[in-house]
Chain length 309, copies 2
């Protein structure tokens, strides 16, 4: 049984996982959907008893029925490196590839359908609340008057993007920004805007959940800093996961049907972990480099498990 890894060529984190899978002696095929059609080829026929098919990547060939797991890591857009690119070719290639793969019995990290659901930020906050996390008061609105009222109530606010990252090329990460309650909120009429009560944090927490493996890392923060992704030189250090958070993570992962999730929390000056987001495709390589937590090994172990059990 083979592990299928969908990612682009330059992916050091995938390299770490591949290396562990090699150590475990687990066969794998790594390919970038951007190379379909081209160096990646596929075929599936439905004749009498369901689909049978295979994928070819370079000289490697793998049968769909022999896939034990599929890791959707950083896949390129199907058709993106074809000689004649078009939206049409991308749609056809995307449908053929992912459509075939959703017919297999392989385990997914993460299934495209679960991933789609899990990207909705309002759904994340809703699910986090129901899973038992502490969630900061949040507003998403196009009404300036509602934004003004929220600001008057909570005073200390941040504004961040609803959808995650700016879809430029390369994508822009918009920093979370602290705003004064007295700013002019008229602009929110131009597009849904997400406001959140600012958590005065003494640390950032990144919790990585890989199947049933949980580990967390902590990075000290200046309570007056807002988005330390861009300013801070502290390193990540391992930290124990409180029991209540552990249970909430398990609940969240089950509801979201995710095999992998990267949770971000703000730890306030009382030590409470406030849920900020769960990124189903979040990075983990930088955490492993700082903490030596064996995250790539945990991903590899999850991918290597026998399916259908």
């Amino acid at each position: 049984m083979t592990v299928l890894i969908l990612t682009c060529e330059e992916d050091l984190t995938a390299d770490m996982v591949v290396s562990t899978l090699h150590d475990l002696g687990v066969p794998l095929v790594r390919l970038d959907p951007a190379d379909l059609p081209g160096t990646v080829a596929l075929s599936a026929d439905y004749v009498r008893n369901d689909f049978h098919g295979y994928l070819k990547a370079g000289e490697r060939m793998v049968s769909l029925s022999s896939l034990r797991s599929i890791w959707v890591r950083r896949p390129g857009t199907p058709g993106a490196r074809a000689a004649e690119q078009s939206t049409w070719l991308t749609a056809e290639s995307e449908q053929a590839l992912y459509g075939m793969l959703t017919c297999t019995r392989a385990r997914w990290m993460n299934h495209p359908v679960a991933a789609m659901q899990a990207r909705y930020k309002p759904w994340q906050l809703h699910t986090a609340h129901h899973s038992g996390f502490a969630v900061p008061p949040t507003l998403i609105t196009t009404f300036p008057s509602v934004a003004r009222q929220f600001a008057a109530t909570h005073r200390d606010l941040v504004v961040k993007s609803v959808s995650g990252k700016h879809p430029g090329d390369p994508p822009l990460v918009l920093p979370t920004t602290r705003i004064s309650p007295d700013v002019d909120f008229a602009g929110v009429a131009a597009g849904p805007t997400l406001f959140q009560r600012h958590i005065r944090k003494q640390a950032d927490i990144r919790l990585t959940c890989i199947g049933s493996h949980l580990s967390a890392a902590r990075k000290k923060s200046d309570p007056d800093e807002v988005d330390s992704r861009f300013t801070d030189n502290s390193t990540w250090e391992p930290v124990a996961v409180p029991d209540a958070v552990h249970r909430a993570v398990e609940g969240y992962m089950t509801t979201a049907q995710l095999a992998y999730g990267a949770f971000d929390f703000a730890e306030d000056t009382d030590g409470t972990w406030w849920f900020l987001e769960c990124n189903q495709g979040g990075q983990f390589g930088f955490i492993q480099l700082d903490t030596d937590q064996p995250l790539a090994q945990a991903v590899a172990t999850w991918l290597a498990a026998e399916p259908f059990t």
Copy 2:
């Protein structure tokens, strides 16, 4: 409790459903996501006990907690009519709107996540097979040699698109085309291509499933015609649904978690209904016009049912 209809302005089929909902005395809000931001506005705040929010369309305001059902009919792209359009604004608006709506307890026709899964053509054929439908031998491939072999085995073939329709503006519907087994298949290397054994059909069947309501219509066909959508002037007539097909439809809808599905079959000269596809967003107005089957009424009745039961 209110029905929310997401569709563009010119939608005669939606008009029929709206008219029935008015007759039933059920409150509704109809809006086009393309008008967000603009004449459509939204607000949702998560403060202590989950999200509370509302949508505004023109002068109508509706609370998220009062939505009984959501009909995703022919929605425009969020942000598409904004003064300053951008991919970014579309992403933010899409995430805010659909993210908020997936936090409600409303029933969906169809849920965006189920719709995404149900669009994959290979998954449709796989699920159709497991639900008990007759499914024609089908091949999706980028290998010319495999296409040649399939043609040699099945002789009488059609080629059709994998993803449905060409994403132009306006979208192009590519007719299903009959091909000779002796053509040059070299071109399939340029993009995944779907081949299917040609069913010599004496009729087209359109079966519409709306919740637990099933009805089918039949249009006589010349067995030598391939895609009668473009050539035939016959009209649709009501036809009884065979028991085995009825059971297969129920199984398919349950697996796919769909509330609405438009199934296309080819009826062969023996009377067998061969599954061609299930379009989760398929039209039904043209069937109702020909057959007088009360499909709009069935949709309205489904949308009008009380939730949480």
